[in-house]
Symmetry: D2
Subunit: 137 residues, 4 copies
Amino acid sequence: MSMQTYIFELPMEVRDYECDLQGIVNNAVYQNYFEHTRHKFLLSKGIAFSELHQRGVDAVVVKVEISFKRSLQPSDQFISKLSLKKEGVRYVFYQALYSINGQTLHASARIETVILINGKLGFTPELDRLVDEASAL
Amino acid sequence: MSMQTYIFELPMEVRDYECDLQGIVNNAVYQNYFEHTRHKFLLSKGIAFSELHQRGVDAVVVKVEISFKRSLQPSDQFISKLSLKKEGVRYVFYQALYSINGQTLHASARIETVILINGKLGFTPELDRLVDEASAL
Amino acid sequence: MSMQTYIFELPMEVRDYECDLQGIVNNAVYQNYFEHTRHKFLLSKGIAFSELHQRGVDAVVVKVEISFKRSLQPSDQFISKLSLKKEGVRYVFYQALYSINGQTLHASARIETVILINGKLGFTPELDRLVDEASAL
Amino acid sequence: MSMQTYIFELPMEVRDYECDLQGIVNNAVYQNYFEHTRHKFLLSKGIAFSELHQRGVDAVVVKVEISFKRSLQPSDQFISKLSLKKEGVRYVFYQALYSINGQTLHASARIETVILINGKLGFTPELDRLVDEASAL
């Protein structure tokens, strides 16, 4: 994922309650960070995840791969970055958490999602438009 | 708590993963919001909760009272407000979550904490200074 | 709450990810424990919280009071106990977390809930029946 | 992972607060399930994760791959299964969540961990013994 071009960035910071007894951010919380970033990306394009759900359109994660590089610590600030591609029927998000100065990669992820419309595999014109925009960069 | 004078404010927003199957923020998450606000208040005064812990000084919650007034929803933005008093050996935080325009109270809380130093009841000059500052307002 | 008669008990144990950087269970997690106990109590009576929600009936917490007596630690096992009363329109749960041998009280709580039916204050015959059963003990 | 031989099984069930606004278990929570299963496996062998940490020995996750097959729903009961191999310096856990009757795979995961001793890559005789036991099956 070294040459990744990111299309969205979200500044975030660690909250103490996200740290576990090892004194570092618990692994599961990274998925919270990644999900929140995806939803903020969608919101920045006028798409609300909760409204999609109410219309019977659910973006569902089918596969997650996360590499943990350097633990996030209490009070750490970081930048959450995101890119989006379509691979077959899947919308694939490439995501990474970098230190503020961009020098340190804390974690990177590849997250495959599909669209379920009333429970059946589908697609949304809104997301396809975002994929087109992303690939045009 | 109607006439409360708050000494610290933190803008926050709801993250979708904090909502439960009722589609609103889960009750337990409000405690996360309140805790994060207390820790950001301390940080704004140069006090890091995690460093206190490493020095054997632990701020421990002994009592929580929360009134839930109006549910926080997906993507809601709000202001988390805080005041601090000392009552006997207890440091008591008065906290509230308001809508951005200040018109809607989502929740209010009274949170009693004590300081344990290596497991024994104690106090910290740092927190006492904050109490003095707060009462001088 | 000293003379409380409990009508439901649930054995539980601490999971490591529930502990924070102080090495003890985070305060917010106690609300998770209390909520899960309430829902298991309802399930034991044939009432599923998620089905209530799908029928437009939502049990909503309006007030929480928790006293933290003795921190729960990694791997601790405990018994979560519950009682139920109706006070005006409110269904009030009295809850407590005890050590397995019953000697140590970790935390106690008083949790006020109301029933919203399609957003309006209401009641459910199912819950009223549980209140009657509880008061008959 | 089709022919996996599992060496540890833990019965679990979904808690309502683990479900998000889609009404299904949030993706991040699966990592909680997988972590809790690993720690219960270690405990079943007399190894407490929190005690390891206090001795300066930290098991740290470096890579996670999760395939989500069929969403877990409110009140679902399931079996969390685990296997363990050593690959180079890494302790790799193969994990899966199955329905009670064994017919439905909800999710499977491959989780790579390393041992840090006072922050440096290391190994623990305790874990190596578990790997030997596992490979002897």
